[in-house]
C-alpha cells in the first residue's frame, strides 16, 4: 500500500509537470482524485486492510492526499501565472516613441489668454463674450467716441454695406452701420446694458483694424479687457489689479507703472508699462503693455448707469503683443501661419 501510494505520487508529480492548461489539469485531477481516480481507488482498498494497520495507513493516506493537493495547487498556480504572462505580449523597448500622431497642442495665443483669464478669475472676474461684428453704437458711441473721431473712419475700420443683415447681432439704433469691432470694449457696453452693477468681467477676443500687415500689425489680432464697476472704485484699485495680474503672470519682482494718457472712455487714463528685464528679447527697463483708466462718466450715461453712484475701471491690452513679449517672438505673423514647429513649442506653464 505504502509503495503504491509513493508510486502514485511520483507518477502524479511527473504527469502534472506536463500539464499546460486548465482543461488538462481538470482531466488530470479527475484521473487522480475523481470518483474513478487512481487515488480514490487506493482509498477504497482501506477496507481490506487489517484493523491494527489502519491508523498508520490512514495517516499515510492523509499525508499523500495532502501532498497530491499541493501538487495540484502548485500546478494551478503555474498555469495561472502562465496565463497572465501570456497577456503581457512581447517585451517592450521603453525608448521607442509612441506611434500616435500627438500630442495635441494649444495655440500660444490660447495659452496666454487662458492664463490671463485664470489669474483674473481668482480675483472675481468672469469671462464675457460678444460679437465680432458690431455696430457703431457699441463700438464707438457708447464709449464716448466723438462722431468725427479718426478711429471711426473707413480708412481705419472695416464696415459692412448698408444692406448687410446680421440677424443675431442686435443694433441699438436702426440706422447704425455694421462694422468689425476695433476693440473688445464693445463687450463691456453689451454686458453693462444687459445687467446691473456691480460687474466684474474680462473679455478676450478678436478685433480688427484696417491696417497694413507687417511684423507688428495684423488685420485681426486679439485683445483682452477687464471692466470693474462698483461703488468707490479708485485709481489705487486699478493699480493694485495690474500689479497683481503681472506679478501672477511673470513672477515676483515684476513691476508696473502708469503714465498719464488719453482714451475717450476713461478719465483719468493711463498707459501701463511693465518692468520686465527677465523676459527674453527685452532689454529696456520698461515696455508698454496696455492702456487703462477710470471709466468715464459719459460711458455710464450711455448705458444708463448713474455716474454719481457708480464708478469703475477698465484695462485692456493686446494678447499677441504680450505673447510676443513672453515668448520672445518678434513677428506677429508667425501666430497666424501655424507652422507646427511653432505650435509644438508651447505648453501650459511654458
Amino acid at each position: 500500500m505504502q509503495e503504491q501510494l509513493s508510486t502514485l505520487l511520483a507518477k502524479a508529480s511527473a504527469e502534472l509537470n506536463e500539464v499546460k492548461g486548465r482543461p488538462e489539469l481538470e482531466a488530470a485531477k479527475a484521473r487522480l482524485v475523481g470518483p474513478n481516480g487512481a487515488f480514490t481507488a487506493l482509498m477504497r482498498q482501506m477496507g481490506s486492510v487489517a484493523k491494527e494497520q489502519r491508523p498508520a495507513l490512514g495517516k499515510l493516506i492523509n499525508e499523500s492526499k495532502a501532498r497530491l493537493q499541493e501538487l495540484l495547487d502548485a500546478r494551478l498556480r503555474a498555469i495561472e501565472e502562465a496565463e497572465l504572462s501570456a497577456q503581457l505580449g512581447p517585451p517592450v523597448d521603453p525608448t521607442l516613441p509612441p506611434v500616435e500622431p500627438g500630442p495635441g497642442t494649444y495655440h500660444p495665443l490660447t495659452l496666454v489668454r487662458e492664463e490671463l483669464c485664470r489669474i483674473l478669475r481668482k480675483v472675481g472676474f468672469t469671462v464675457a463674450d460678444g460679437p465680432e461684428v458690431e455696430t457703431e453704437f457699441y463700438c464707438f458711441d457708447a464709449l464716448n467716441t466723438p462722431p468725427d473721431h479718426p478711429a471711426r473712419n473707413a480708412q481705419d475700420t472695416f464696415y459692412f454695406p448698408p444692406g448687410a443683415r446680421f440677424e443675431n447681432v442686435s443694433k441699438h439704433r436702426s440706422d447704425e452701420r455694421y462694422l468689425l469691432r476695433t476693440h473688445t470694449s464693445s463687450v463691456q457696453v453689451r454686458t453693462m446694458l444687459k445687467g446691473q452693477p456691480p460687474i466684474r468681467i474680462v473679455s478676450p477676443g478678436r478685433v480688427y483694424r484696417r491696417d497694413t500687415t507687417d511684423a507688428s500689425h495684423s488685420a485681426n489680432f486679439h485683445q483682452i479687457e477687464c471692466l470693474y464697476v462698483d461703488r468707490n472704485v479708485t485709481v489705487r484699485d486699478l493699480k493694485a489689479l495690474l500689479d497683481y495680474l503681472f506679478e501672477a503672470l511673470l513672477g515676483p519682482g515684476t513691476k508696473t507703472r502708469f503714465r498719464p494718457h488719453y482714451f475717450g472712455y476713461t478719465e483719468p487714463s493711463f498707459e501701463v508699462d511693465l518692468s520686465a528685464r527677465h523676459l527674453p528679447k527685452v532689454n529696456k527697463d520698461w515696455i508698454e503693455i496696455g492702456g487703462c483708466g477710470i471709466v468715464d462718466p459719459e460711458v455710464f450715461k450711455a448705458v444708463g448707469y448713474d455716474p454719481q453712484i457708480w464708478t469703475g475701471y477698465a484695462f485692456g491690452m493686446g494678447i499677441e503683443r504680450l505673447a510676443m513679449t513672453l515668448y520672445g517672438i518678434d513677428d506677429i505673423r508667425v501666430f497666424y501661419q501655424n507652422d507646427l514647429r511653432l505650435l509644438r513649442q508651447f505648453t501650459w506653464g511654458s
Binding site: H107, A219, Y336
Partner: protein, 816 residues
C-alpha cells in the same frame, strides 16, 4: 512733435538734467519717442585756427597742404586738407591729435600721401552741428586763435520728440510744453511780451480793404493785419536753427516768422502777398464743386462744396487751414503782406485734409483744436517778429471778423472727491498747488466740516479738455505723479457669475481636440471673395462682403474655419513640416436665407499623415471624424446620434459628394458637417489629399439658453440576455434605416414583460458567400427585464418572433 529744450528755456528756467526732464515729460503724459542732441557736443582738443598758407599737395591734385596758426600755445601746424571752400586767412575749427569727434572718430598725427598732417580742419558735420559736409566750417567774427571750439559755436540743443495725445492740442507748441514743465518743476513761466498790441498807424493800405466770412460756423475768427515795407530775405540764424530743431525747413523771414509763432503758440498763421489778392478783399467761403487750386506742393487739387477756402474776388488762394496756393504766396519781391491769423472748425479741416489726402503742420493743429482766445497774442507776436527781422510797419485796416464769444468756465471740485477717486490721500494744499501750477486758478475755496475743501477753479481757454470734476482729478494726479500711486492688494467681494457659455464651450471643444492629438491653429477671419464663391456659395460671397476691404484677398468674413486649416496644411506641407491633425475654434459667419449669423464654431481637418512610424495603426477615416463631430456636438448639448443626417448637397461645394454629410441647420441653432473635403478642389489648391474634415457650428444664443436638466431614468439591475441577428440587405441600404426597422420590430416582439433595450450594428460584411449587390449587417440585441432574470426560452421566443416579423414586414432577409 519735436520740442527744443533751448526754446523751452525762453519761458521756463529748467536746471534739471536732460534725463530728469525726459522723465517729467513722460509722466506728464507725453510719451517721449526720441531724445536727440543737436549742435556741437562738448569737444576737447578742437580749437580755433587760421589758415596761413595753402599749397597743392605734391602727390594729390585734390588735396592741399596748409600751415595753420593755432594760437600762441600751439604754434603753427601743418595740416593736409581735402576741402576747397576756404582761403588763406579764414579761421576754422582745428581738431588736434587726441581729439575725438562725434561718431568716435579719433584724430592722430598721420601721413597723407607722404605728407605729415598734424591734425584736421573740420566741416560742420564732422563737429556734429548739421549735415553740411560741402567744406570746412568757416568761423565768423574772427574768434581768438587757440580758443576752445565750444566757446565759439552756438550751444547745442536737446530735442524731445514727443507724442501729444488728442485731448491736449494746447501742447502742440513750445509754450504749452513749457507750461507743463513749469508746473512739474514748480517754476515760474514767462510768456513772450508782445510790443505790437493791435494799434495800426493812421496809414492805410491801398492794396487790401476788407475780410468777409461767408460761413462763420467754419471760421469763427478771422484776423488780417497788413504790413508794408517788408523786405523778404532769409530769416536770422537763431530762428532758422529753432525751426530746423523742430523739424521745419526755413523758407524766408516772413514765412519763418509765421511758422515760428505756430511752434511757439500753436496758432497757425498764413501770409499773403497783398499784390496777389485780387480786388483787395479776402473772402472766406466754401469752394464750388470742382473748383481747382494748385497748392504749394505743386499739385492741382479739385475741391468740393465742403472745402473751406480763403479766396479773393477772383479765385481760391488757400485751402483754409491746410495749405496755401501757389498763386498768392510770399516771393522775393513782396513788400506788402497780409497776415492771416484765424480759427477754423476742427471737423471741417479734418474732413478737408482727409478728402484731399493732404496734411500739414497747420491742418494737424486745426484738426485737434486751436485756442481762439490766444489767437490775438499770436498774431501780435508774429508781427513783432516780422518787423524785427523783415522790417516794415503795420498799416490799416486791421480786420477782425468773429471771435466775439467770450471764454468762461469754472469747475468745482473738492479734496474729498479727489481722494475718493484716487483711493489715497494727497494733502489739500498740495492739490490746490498742483491745480494752480497749471494755471487752473482757484477763484474760491470753501472748507466744509471734516476738513473737506471745495475749490472753484477757473479753466483757461486753452484747456477746453477740462470740463468735469473728474478731469481735475487727472490734473492733480499728473502733477502729484502717477509713479507715486501707493501699492495695494487686490480686494474683491465675490460676484457670483459664470463664464459666458460660448467661452466655456470653446474651452471644452479645444481641450477635447487637443486631447485627441490635434494641433490648435489661429487663422485670419478675412478671406477672398473667390474662395467663398467656389468653396461655399455665391450667396455667402454676396452677403459676407466688407464695404471697404483693405486688400483684395481679405474682403469677406469667413463662413467656415476649414479654409484656414487647409492653408495651414499647405503651409506646413510646403515647408516640409508634417502636419495632419489641425483645428481651430473661433467665430464664423453663416449666410442663411439672405441673412447672416455670427456663430461660434469648432472645426478640424485630418490630412495625410506624412510621418513614417515604426509601427502601423489604422489611419483615421470617415467614422473617426463622425465620432469627433459627435463629441463636439455633445459639448453643446446636441446628441448627433438621434439627429437626421443627410448628404451634403447644394451649397457647400467644398465637400466630396457621397462622402460628406450634414445635420442640423442655422434654423435649429446648430450645424454639424463631416466627411471628405472635395478631392479635385484640394488638388487644385495644391494639397496632397485626401483630407477629412468636420465642424460644429452653433449660435451663441443657443449655447446661452439654459438647457433643461435631465431627469434620472431608472435602470434594471437584472442580467441582460444577448442575442445576435444577421440580415442580408441591399448594398445601398443604410445601416441606420435597417437598425431602425429592427428596433421597431424588437420593441413589440418582446411584449410587455421585458424589452429589447438596445439594437446596435456590430458587423458589416460584403463579399464571399453573399449574392451580388448584397451585404450582411449583424446586430447585437440586448434583452432585459426590469423585474427578474429572463429565461432562455422566453428570450429565444422573442428572437424568433423578431426574425419572423423582420422577414414578413421588411425587405431584409434573415441569415440563418
Amino acid at each position: 512733435m519735436k520740442i527744443s529744450l533751448n526754446w523751452i528755456s525762453d519761458y521756463v528756467a529748467l536746471d534739471a538734467p536732460v534725463e530728469e526732464i525726459t522723465r517729467a515729460v513722460t509722466f506728464l503724459g507725453f510719451e517721449v519717442e526720441r531724445v536727440a542732441t543737436h549742435g556741437a557736443p562738448p569737444l576737447e582738443h578742437v580749437i580755433v585756427g587760421e589758415v596761413l598758407t595753402r599749397e597743392r599737395h605734391p602727390n594729390a591734385d585734390r588735396l592741399s597742404v596748409c600751415t595753420v596758426d593755432i594760437g600762441p600755445a600751439g604754434g603753427v601746424r601743418t595740416i593736409v586738407c581735402g576741402a576747397q571752400n576756404y582761403k588763406v586767412g579764414d579761421r576754422v575749427a582745428v581738431a588736434l591729435p587726441g581729439a575725438v569727434l562725434p561718431g568716435g572718430f579719433r584724430i592722430t598725427q598721420s601721413k597723407i600721401r607722404g605728407q605729415l598732417s598734424d591734425g584736421m580742419m573740420c566741416s560742420g558735420r564732422e563737429l556734429g552741428i548739421g549735415e553740411d559736409q560741402s567744406g570746412l566750417l568757416i568761423l565768423d567774427g574772427r574768434p581768438a586763435l587757440g580758443a576752445g571750439i565750444n566757446g565759439v559755436l552756438p550751444p547745442g540743443d536737446t530735442i524731445f520728440d514727443i507724442e501729444v495725445t488728442p485731448n491736449r492740442p494746447d501742447c502742440l507748441c513750445h509754450i504749452g510744453v513749457a507750461r507743463e514743465l513749469a508746473a512739474w518743476f514748480k517754476k515760474g513761466l514767462a510768456y513772450p511780451q508782445e510790443r505790437f498790441r493791435g494799434e495800426a498807424g493812421a496809414a492805410r493800405s491801398d492794396l487790401f480793404t476788407s475780410v468777409e466770412v461767408e460761413t462763420p460756423a467754419d471760421c469763427p475768427l478771422y484776423t488780417a493785419h497788413v504790413l508794408t515795407g517788408v523786405k523778404i530775405g532769409p530769416s536770422p540764424a537763431w530762428m532758422q536753427e529753432r525751426l530746423r530743431a523742430a523739424g521745419l525747413r526755413p523758407i524766408n523771414n516772413v514765412v519763418d516768422a509765421g511758422n515760428y509763432v505756430m511752434l511757439e503758440y500753436g496758432q497757425p498763421l498764413h501770409a499773403f502777398d497783398a499784390r496777389k489778392i485780387s480786388g483787395g478783399r479776402i473772402i472766406v467761403r466754401r469752394a464750388r464743386d470742382g473748383e481747382r487750386i494748385t497748392t504749394l506742393d505743386g499739385k492741382e487739387r479739385t475741391l468740393s462744396s465742403r472745402t473751406l477756402v480763403i479766396a479773393d474776388t477772383a479765385k481760391a488762394l488757400v485751402v483754409a487751414g491746410v495749405m496755401g496756393g501757389e498763386n498768392s504766396g510770399i516771393d522775393d519781391s513782396t513788400t506788402t503782406i497780409v497776415l492771416e491769423c484765424a480759427i477754423f472748425n476742427a471737423s471741417s479741416i479734418r474732413w478737408t485734409s482727409r478728402s484731399l489726402g493732404l496734411a500739414s503742420d497747420s491742418s494737424y493743429r486745426y484738426e485737434r483744436g486751436v485756442d481762439p482766445h490766444t489767437a490775438r497774442e499770436a498774431s501780435w507776436r508774429a508781427i513783432d517778429l516780422i518787423m524785427e527781422i523783415a522790417g516794415g510797419s503795420v498799416v490799416g485796416p486791421v480786420c477782425v471778423v468773429g471771435g466775439d464769444v467770450p471764454w468762461e468756465r469754472e469747475i468745482t471740485v473738492s479734496s474729498g472727491f479727489v481722494c475718493e477717486r484716487l483711493g489715497f490721500e494727497i494733502p489739500a494744499a498740495e492739490m490746490r498747488a498742483a491745480l494752480e501750477s497749471l494755471e487752473l486758478n482757484v477763484t474760491r475755496e470753501d472748507t466744509a466740516a471734516g476738513g473737506d475743501v471745495a475749490w472753484t477753479v477757473a479753466i483757461p481757454s486753452w484747456r477746453d479738455d477740462l470740463d468735469r470734476p473728474i478731469d481735475l482729478v487727472e490734473e492733480i494726479l499728473r502733477i502729484h505723479g502717477t509713479e507715486r500711486i501707493p501699492h495695494a492688494r487686490v480686494t474683491s467681494a465675490g460676484l457670483a457669475a459664470e463664464d459666458d457659455p460660448v467661452v466655456a464651450f470653446n474651452r471644452r471643444a479645444t481641450s477635447y481636440l487637443v486631447g485627441h492629438d490635434f494641433n490648435e491653429c489661429v487663422n485670419l477671419t478675412l478671406r477672398p471673395a473667390s474662395e467663398l464663391d467656389t468653396w461655399v456659395s455665391q450667396a455667402a460671397a454676396a452677403e459676407l462682403a466688407l464695404a471697404n476691404p483693405f486688400v483684395e484677398d481679405q474682403s469677406h468674413l469667413r463662413p467656415t474655419l476649414i479654409m484656414g486649416l487647409l492653408d495651414t496644411l499647405l503651409l506646413n506641407q510646403s515647408r516640409g513640416t508634417p502636419a495632419s491633425r489641425l483645428f481651430e475654434v473661433g467665430r464664423v459667419f453663416v449666410e442663411h436665407i439672405g441673412r447672416n449669423y455670427e456663430c461660434a464654431a469648432v472645426s478640424f481637418v485630418v490630412g495625410r499623415d506624412a510621418v513614417r512610424r515604426w509601427k502601423r495603426r489604422d489611419p483615421d477615416d470617415f467614422y473617426s471624424v463622425k465620432h469627433h463631430v459627435a463629441a463636439l456636438a455633445a459639448e453643446a448639448g446636441v446628441d448627433l446620434a438621434v439627429e437626421r443626417i443627410e448628404a451634403v448637397a447644394g451649397p457647400g461645394f467644398g465637400w466630396q459628394p457621397g462622402h460628406s454629410f450634414t445635420a442640423g441647420s442655422v434654423g435649429t441653432g446648430w450645424v454639424a458637417r463631416f466627411g471628405l473635403v472635395n478631392l479635385a478642389m484640394l488638388k487644385a489648391r495644391g494639397i496632397d489629399g485626401p483630407v477629412l474634415a468636420g465642424y460644429f457650428t452653433v449660435l451663441p444664443e443657443r449655447l446661452q439658453a439654459r438647457g433643461q436638466r435631465p431627469r434620472f431614468r431608472e435602470f434594471s439591475l437584472f442580467p441582460a440576455a444577448l442575442r445576435d441577428l444577421a440580415l442580408v440587405v441591399d448594398k445601398s441600404a443604410l445601416a441606420g434605416d435597417v437598425r431602425a426597422a429592427v428596433a421597431a420590430v424588437a420593441a413589440s416582439a418582446a411584449g410587455a414583460a421585458f424589452s429589447a433595450e438596445s439594437v446596435e450594428v456590430f458587423d458589416v460584411y460584403e463579399g464571399k458567400g453573399l449574392p451580388e449587390g448584397k451585404k450582411s449587417l449583424a446586430f447585437s440585441l440586448v434583452f432585459r427585464s426590469p423585474a427578474r432574470t429572463l429565461t432562455d426560452e422566453e428570450v429565444n421566443g422573442a428572437l424568433r418572433r423578431i426574425r419572423d416579423e423582420v422577414a414578413r414586414t421588411t425587405p431584409y432577409q434573415v441569415r440563418s
